[in-house]
């Protein structure tokens, strides 16, 4: 009896002293929202801090401006390239290539991806090939493309096509698996045939997934166009960087890189916006 009560007492004290309860936190909340003001402050720091560091290093440090131009010098270079119209011309050239290449890629990849996701037969037919092609780096095809198509627009558009088509198709294929079997069977019971089910149920169901896949793969397309232009082009943002490098115009290289990054981010946000507006029903929101 004595022993038992001692045991109980020990256990009670153990509970009180050693087992602390989870302390509340704002900053370290796991997968939970943080307060809006804190959110904005952190976003500000995320962009502002690197800028300040950059400014500080170039102003107070002893780095040669040929290697690292100051933010002000980059802003001036931006203004110069803008006023001559070169920057706009380059941006349009690059955007056009990405637009055409990626549009063609999506145009073929979306239906093929949906069909691959919907029919196990088509999937077995195409997935091994696509899976392999996906791991062949698109820039490795550049010599071949130049050999086949010269150095005009065609090989650049083709590079973007090759570099994004297989990813697009496989990612669209993957989104089809989120269409529940019950929903497809419910459609059969309501009188739908397979074609109707494909077009009126599976397709609308995967639209948010398609937009998301496009959003992610557009980033790859945007990188590939720069690679293509670095190698052979007469205009474009990649070409601008390449030429600037040859003349040690570091400020113009920085302008090019920042513009490329900003446009990429803008495209990403555009797709996020499209998903939010046109797919209100989707769980991706």
């Amino acid at each position: 009896m004595q022993l038992k009560s001692r045991n109980n007492r020990d256990r009670d004290s153990l509970n009180a002293e050693n087992r602390s309860s989870l302390r509340p936190s704002v900053f370290w909340r796991l997968v939970e929202d943080i307060p809006q003001p804190l959110n904005w402050v952190l976003i500000g720091i995320s962009i502002g801090l690197p800028l300040i560091l950059w400014w500080g290093v170039t102003t107070f440090g002893s780095i040669d401006a040929k290697f690292l131009p100051s933010p002000a010098a980059v802003a001036i270079a931006f203004q110069r390239l803008w006023s001559t119209g070169e920057l706009q011309q380059d941006t349009i050239a690059s955007l056009w290539r990405v637009g055409v290449g990626f549009f063609l890629s999506a145009l073929f990849a979306i239906p093929i991806g949906i069909v691959m996701g919907s029919f196990r037969s088509i999937r077995a037919l195409l997935e091994p090939l696509f899976g392999l092609m996906r791991y062949m780096p698109a820039p490795a095809f550049i010599p071949l493309l130049i050999l086949y198509q010269g150095i005009d627009e065609a090989p650049k558009v083709m590079l973007i096509f090759i570099g994004t088509f297989f990813f697009n198709a496989l990612m669209v294929m993957d989104t089809v698996k989120f269409v529940s079997k019950d929903l497809i069977e419910a459609t059969y019971i309501l009188g739908g045939n397979r074609l109707q089910t494909l077009l009126m149920v599976i397709f609308p169901h995967v639209i948010p997934g398609i937009l998301d896949a496009c959003r992610i793969n557009l980033a790859a397309a945007w990188q590939l166009v720069i690679v293509a232009e670095l190698i052979a082009a007469t205009e474009g943002l990649g070409r601008r960087i390449s030429v600037a490098g040859r003349f040690l115009r570091t400020d113009e290289i920085f302008v090019g890189i920042i513009v490329i990054g900003t446009i990429g981010l803008a495209l990403d946000l555009l797709f996020q916006y499209l998903i939010r507006v046109f797919c209100k029903w989707s769980e991706r929101n």
Partner: protein, 259 residues
């Protein structure tokens, strides 16, 4: 007989050999009946419903509805799933019209018929909402309206209220009884909820587990089916009897499965 389930068996190929899920099932249902099939998990009750819906074909035996053999899914047999299978991008109205759209009914007639059934299930005010704006019970009522719009010969329900909380479930029970009495439609529902079965049906079939066979047929004679009936001894007797049967055949199945 309106629905004839004639000696149905179903086997599945598994890695460890043939698995018999349903064995020699014979069930007949009259037009306008409300029948529940009750069984423990593993009794193959959902498999049976899928055969009736035409989503799957039995290994042997035949199912006829109004004399016509079931060959595949058709709007003649409406079905309500446990997980509200609504089209999340379509409004309540469009969801309800969807079957008619698939069947090529004109836009105007579609709208009229869907509006009528949305009114029947009491959701006219929510016609323009998206499914994710509705509660579980409301979603299930849309699913019922969507099935009824096609004017099926029988309404099949696969544990339709299984995902609902207890209060919603009870109000859905009263709703479906009221609907059944007004539309005189034949309903076949599957459940493992004993009280639900006694409250809703006029006949209950009890399935055993592994393999699923019909062990018992119960006829339920309740004078009225209001909310108060659950306190009456007659209701409780039915419930207790069913509970004992279910426990007995469910347990038998477990023993059989181990051997």
């Amino acid at each position: 007989m309106f629905v004839q389930i004639d000696n149905i068996s179903k086997q599945f190929q598994t890695q460890s050999g043939n698995l018999t899920v349903l064995k020699n099932i014979n069930i007949n249902i009259d037009r306008g009946e409300f029948v529940c099939i009750v069984g423990a998990s593993g009794s193959g009750k959902s498999t049976l419903l899928r055969q009736i819906a035409g989503l799957d074909t039995p290994s042997s035996g035949e199912i006829r509805i109004a004399g016509v053999p079931v060959k595949g899914p058709s709007p003649d047999r409406g079905m309500v799933f446990q997980n509200y299978t609504l089209y999340p991008w379509l409004s309540v109205q469009e969801n309800t019209e969807f079957g008619l759209k698939l069947q090529g009914v004109s836009k105007r007639e579609r709208r009229e018929r869907a509006s009528y059934y949305l009114n029947v299930v009491g959701l006219s005010d929510f016609a323009r909402c998206l499914p994710n704006e509705l509660s579980g019970g409301m979603k299930q009522r849309v699913a019922i309206a969507r099935a009824l719009v096609c004017e099926p010969q029988i309404l099949l329900m696969d544990e339709p209220f299984g995902a609902l909380d207890i209060h919603t479930k009870e109000s859905m029970h009263e709703f479906i009884i009221d609907l059944w009495q007004r539309t005189k439609i034949t309903i076949l529902s599957i459940t493992h909820d004993v009280e639900e079965a006694v409250f809703l049906s006029n006949r209950i079939f009890v399935l055993s587990s592994r393999p699923g066979t019909v062990k018992k047929e119960m006829t339920i004679n309740l004078a009225e089916r209001g909310a108060n009936i659950k306190r009456h001894t007659i209701f409780q007797d039915y419930r207790d009897e069913l509970m004992v049967l279910l426990r007995q055949y469910g347990a038998e199945g477990l023993v059989a499965a181990k051997v």
